[in-house]
Amino acid sequence: MFRHFLTLQQVSRRQISSTVRRQLVNKVPDKQKLFQESNGMPVHLKGGVGDAVLYRATMGLTVLGTAYVIYELVKAALPQKKD
């Protein structure tokens, strides 16, 4: 959310006060432009690099988790007796 604070050319009306909370500028039009761009990206990746990183992390955990649960369930179903 705070990445866009660097685009100073768009914030001519915004006042930054050191004593008062910063006035939030309406970024919805910018978001609308970003997510309506005709680039063929699906909505879950359309936000940028951060989306792809989060997606890969989630899918990685999904695949690892699936393997782990099969391993644990097989281990639970076929106990190895210790002598």
Binding site: V28, Q32, L34, F35, L61, G65, Y68, E72, A76
Partner: protein
């Protein structure tokens, strides 16, 4: 998106139903593994996956609605039906626990001493913290309605204040209930009284936390200008859920805390 000849929403392919299903598998299997083999790794992994799925799925819905304009009137109607049906299913969920409570309390067995509350149980005084909790939730119902009217009238600052107050009241309820749980003279293991009390009020408390979280997301969205005076269904859904949580508490208070003492 400008090329469709209808007002409905054909969603992009999404990985979140799969990750959500795997999360459910990991949480349930993880629960069994925890019970039998004392390891919480699988269950924790499932929980993390569930949180990631919920965050990204709902983030995408906000993108589709607020940023891409897919939530046309017919689509919004479907979302309304969906939320109503979900809340109805939750009503039935709680109905089961109320059934269990009334089954045990209307005809107390000899093992309990033939009375309700059972012999040996000192119930909480319904006119102390539970009454305060009732006032807190009723007040939060007023503040959430104030927030709705503020949004509809374009009063940005009032909407933010009343929504924040609603959330604070929800957190106050949760804190009070946590303290009550800690100080209670009986536990969940104290027969059917303890079971019905803590399972019913416990699930209710979980729903208060879920509802407070939903409202907090709405607060963030209101601050970021997502809601317009005509279109703010996310907030309405959160408000409906909050009223449902309030009504469940009223039934809990009258049945378990008051009549049940």
């Amino acid at each position: 998106m400008a090329h469709q000849a209808h007002a409905y929403h054909m969603v992009d392919p999404s990985p979140w139903p799969l990750t959500g299903a795997i999360a459910a598998l990991l949480m349930t299997s993880g629960l069994a593994i925890w019970f039998h083999f004392h390891s919480t790794t699988l269950m924790t992994l499932g929980l993390i996956l569930l949180l990631l799925t919920m965050y990204q799925w709902w983030r995408d819905i906000i993108r589709e609605g607020t940023f891409q304009g897919h939530h046309t009137p017919p689509v919004q109607k479907g979302l309304r039906y969906g939320m109503i049906l979900f809340i109805t299913s939750e009503v039935f969920f709680f109905l089961g626990f109320f059934w269990a409570f009334y089954h045990s309390s209307l005809a107390p067995t000899p093992e309990l001493g033939g009375c309700w509350p059972p012999t040996g149980i000192t119930p909480l005084d319904p006119f102390e913290v539970p009454l305060l909790n009732t006032a807190v939730l009723l007040a939060s119902g007023v503040t959430v309605t104030w927030a709705h009217h503020s949004i509809m009238e374009g009063e940005r600052k009032q909407a933010i204040q009343s929504l924040a107050l609603t959330i604070l009241l929800g957190l106050y309820f949760t804190a009070l209930q946590a303290m009550e749980y800690y100080e209670a003279p009986f536990t969940i293991a104290d027969g059917v009284y303890g079971s019905t009390f803590f399972v019913a009020t416990g699930f209710h408390g979980l729903h208060v936390i879920i509802g407070s979280t939903f409202l907090a997301v709405c607060l963030l969205r209101q601050i970021q200008y997502h809601f317009t005076s005509e279109h703010h269904f996310g907030f309405e859904a959160a408000a409906w859920y909050w009223h449902f949580v309030d009504v469940v508490w009223l039934f809990l208070y009258v049945s378990i805390y008051w009549w049940g003492s």
